[in-house]
């Protein structure tokens, strides 16, 4: 009679259709407009770079799962997103072997060395980018000029500094003349693959927000604090400091604010924590941009704040404990 094979598990017996895969692939989808834009602006080289980056990330993930004797999850989407983000963070003419090295740093050193998905303290794509920047400063700051639909494989591309680079070395006037705000918004400027087109990035971010995968606390507090800080100094001395709108459309601010700082694993969970995180990132970004040695500060800012996240979480934890302690005493 007992022809059925019963299984015992715990309630609930229905689950939502969400999974790590659905979250990750949706993030990848949100980055699609920026990727498409990058191919439009920088040509086939951009596509090749992106594909190589993603494939090497997935390959390293597979390798690490095997080495650590864990069930293989290289296709769960997290390696794809890391690869995509890293690709969008580097110039289109970066040598491919550097891209693969970046993938190694991101997946092996930053993610798996800390325990794998969910355990990393630092954003893998950002660590890889910063590693490449510090190790190969020339290659990482030689930004090609956008040439729509170019099939040039970067043999001799016209390159130059990014608008922020010009701002750092030549001052406000030179920077403003190199770029019109509209160009900045649409992306017709030098920069990494993904950071140039503010429009494409915003479109993707709105999609993520609609699907409730990111909340706006971090991006808005981050961008808001950059805006206010740079705006303050621009008011004080417009000849030395560029306008806040210039800062909005240049560099990796939008990419960083909406896609890197909001990475779930490395950002705080509480609203208060997220606002603080965004504020901290924004202030550090602005400080580095205005007075630091590097023209772009968002990567460093986010990484520094990543290291503070466990402290923020502990602050929330202690608050919860204190609140419950109080409640337990009064009842």
């Amino acid at each position: 009679m007992e022809s059925v094979n019963l299984k015992v598990s715990n309630a609930p017996f229905v689950r939502s259709k969400d999974s790590i895969e659905s979250v990750m692939y949706n993030v990848a989808l949100a980055l699609a407009p920026a990727t498409v834009m990058s191919v439009y602006l920088f040509g086939m080289r951009a596509l090749v770079l992106t594909v190589v980056c993603i494939l090497s990330c997935i390959a390293f993930e597979w390798l690490m799962d095997k080495a650590r004797n864990k069930p293989n999850s290289c296709l769960d989407g997290s390696a794809l997103v890391t690869g995509l983000l890293l690709a969008l963070n580097v110039p289109a003419n970066l040598p491919l072997w550097m891209v693969v090295l970046g993938a190694f740093i991101a997946i092996v050193a930053t993610k798996h060395a800390f325990g794998g998905l969910g355990y990393n303290v630092f954003n893998p794509a950002l660590v890889a980018r910063v590693f490449l920047l510090i190790s190969f400063p020339a290659a990482m700051t030689n930004w090609p000029f956008p040439v729509p639909f170019s099939f040039d494989m970067m043999i001799d591309m016209e390159t130059g500094a990014s608008p922020l680079g010009i701002l750092k070395t030549d001052g406000v006037e030179a920077a403003l003349s190199s770029l019109s705000l509209m160009d900045g918004f649409y992306g017709r400027m030098t920069g990494s693959l993904g950071e140039t087109s503010t429009l494409a990035l915003l479109a993707g971010a709105l999609w993520l927000w609609y699907k409730k995968y990111i909340s706006m606390h971090i991006p808005l507090s981050l961008i808001g604090s950059v805006f206010l800080f740079t705006g303050l100094f621009h008011l004080i001395d417009p000849s030395t400091y560029a306008s806040p709108t210039f800062h909005m459309v240049t560099g990796g601010l939008i990419l960083g604010a909406f896609f890197m700082a909001t990475d779930m694993v490395t950002s705080p969970l509480s609203i208060r924590g997220q606002l603080l995180f965004g504020l901290g990132c924004g202030l550090l970004t602005a400080i580095i941009r205005l007075w630091g040695g590097y023209p772009e500060g968002i990567s460093f800012a986010i990484l520094i704040m990543n290291s503070v996240v466990p402290l923020i979480d502990r602050w929330d934890l202690n608050d919860r404990k204190a609140l419950n302690q109080k409640k337990l005493k009064t009842t």
Binding site: N5, K7, V8, S9
Partner: protein, 279 residues
Amino acid sequence: MISEAFIPAVASLGSVALTLGLIIFYVSKKFHVEEDPMVTIVNDILPGVNCGACGYPSCGQFAEVLVETKDSSMTCPVGGTDLAAKLGDTLGITMSEPKPITAVVLCQGDNDTARETAEYLGIQDCWAATQTYVGPKQCRYSCVGLGSCIAFCDFGAMRLENGLIIIDKDRCTGCGACIPACPTGVIVMQEKKAERYVIACNSHDKGAATKKACDAGCIACQKCVKVCDDDAIVIENFLAKIIQEKCTSCGKCIEVCPTKVNCILLEEDLKEAKQKKAS
């Protein structure tokens, strides 16, 4: 040219290191905590496992209290009689000898003998399983077989084999850490004996119910009670139990036990016992 960069760097870093080293040396001397050297000696003799079997949270604490009180009744079950002798020599007192004890799993219901309920797909932990339902095995007194106790053993004396926990008698020190780890209470501490007979079943179900749940369960048929000349076996709540103090290890009970797999166990490996029964 090299020396231009070399010498200042080495000199500056070297002097910083030297200064810091001197500071550390000074601080370690000034803020040194006075400790009875005997405590350090005793602590070095102790096994250093910090298992808690002696009743103190760590070997260090045991050493401190022992040196302070010279209480000869304090025992370390892990170190056994050898350790008691060494401690006694060191402190100049006669330490009481700990009774060698070992943990015993009162169950023989492995995947072959115990009947299954349904496949358990929750958190693979014995407590989690018994909280959800009776467990993967029909007998609610059995060893659940998911191995949660293994992590509690500091001595690596436990392993999971075919859905049943096996305790390595040579490694078990009787520290007792595994006992709170078991939700069904199937692990007990017993004195180590050369030839120890124990009824390896924990089921208080009536005979028919026990038989239905497991081939290796005690059905309280009382055959062993009748054959024992030393009155060493009693039936408590449908389960036979051997009173170790009265048992003379004559082996008569093991011959009359009707359950398929020997549920009266010798101080031997399970495999050997099965082979003996088979031959």
